[in-house]
Symmetry: C2
Subunit: 146 residues, 2 copies
DNA sequence: TATTGTTATACTCTATAACTATA
DNA sequence: TATAGTTATAGAGTATAACAATA
């Protein structure tokens, strides 16, 4: 097996592993992965429905249901937008902010554990490779990308 | 932002990116991501329902529905197991084998493109880091892990 | 009694199409 | 007319619980 084949296989494995962690941490906070992503986004500032749908790459109708469910669970709420009576903003409640914060913290811890076994040099190299592959950015924003 | 935070953020980004590719390639072959995973597994040899459910980490009842759908689409079929009249094996049809092969090939190509921009040294380092993080293994088996 | 697989039911997530209200 | 959001409907994927047949 050549060099590239080995790397690509590792990428797929790693991706599944990270998604497993994401799902497990979400569940531990009584959230679905999608709800966790949504809360992480709106915790950084209220957003409109169309804006959010675009951000997540889903239809507006799908977002209506998503927001319905987090709202029913008391984690977010729709608020009016001054100056445009059609529009709504989605903002986290106090509980939603808390959940988003806890989720992000725990994701950082779990991923930290994952890379803790790497030598400092290898971790440094990994960081360089990742920066080239997917660009820079902090964990907070990474967590809520599509 | 420290070293580890940067790496963990990159891991999350990368994970989402790979999942996007997985979903896009699946769709291009008229499969859902889960169906693609299932076909990749059974293409390596027929497996029992309970075995598959365990492999994917889902309940047996969920697997019944999954297999119903791929069977309805003519991509796999349930076959009797000689020696145990309770058991069933899931085996790919000719069309299912073809879909699995095409899916794996295209995933390899897409992921190859993703890492093509890295310098040989960095790719080598990335390979080492991935091997330590998630172990070795070829793309075929990586593709159908949980 | 334990295991294999299914059925019934319910929930989340998603898409498409048709709709309302506002700009 | 175009945009923001919703409703209605359908389908995939999942879980739990109860069930059948076989070991």
């Amino acid at each position: 097996m050549d060099d590239i084949a080995q790397v690509t296989a590792g990428l797929v494995r790693l991706s599944f592993r990270v998604q497993e962690i994401y799902a497990r941490v979400s569940e531990r906070h009584d959230l679905t992965p999608v709800q966790a992503k949504l809360l992480c986004v709106v915790a950084d500032g209220p957003r409109g429905m169309a804006d959010l749908a675009n951000h997540f790459g889903v239809e507006r109708a799908a977002l209506t249901g998503l927001v319905d469910r987090v709202e029913r669970r008391g984690l977010a709420e729709r608020t009016a937008v001054p100056g445009d009576r059609r529009a709504l903003h989605v903002a986290p409640t106090e509980a939603g902010c808390h959940a988003a914060r806890a989720f992000k913290t725990e994701m950082g811890e779990e991923l930290g554990k994952l890379v803790a076994g790497l030598s400092p040099e290898l971790r440094e190299h990994l960081g360089q490779a990742l920066a080239q592959l997917v660009g820079p950015g902090d964990l907070g924003t990474a967590m809520c990308r599509p």
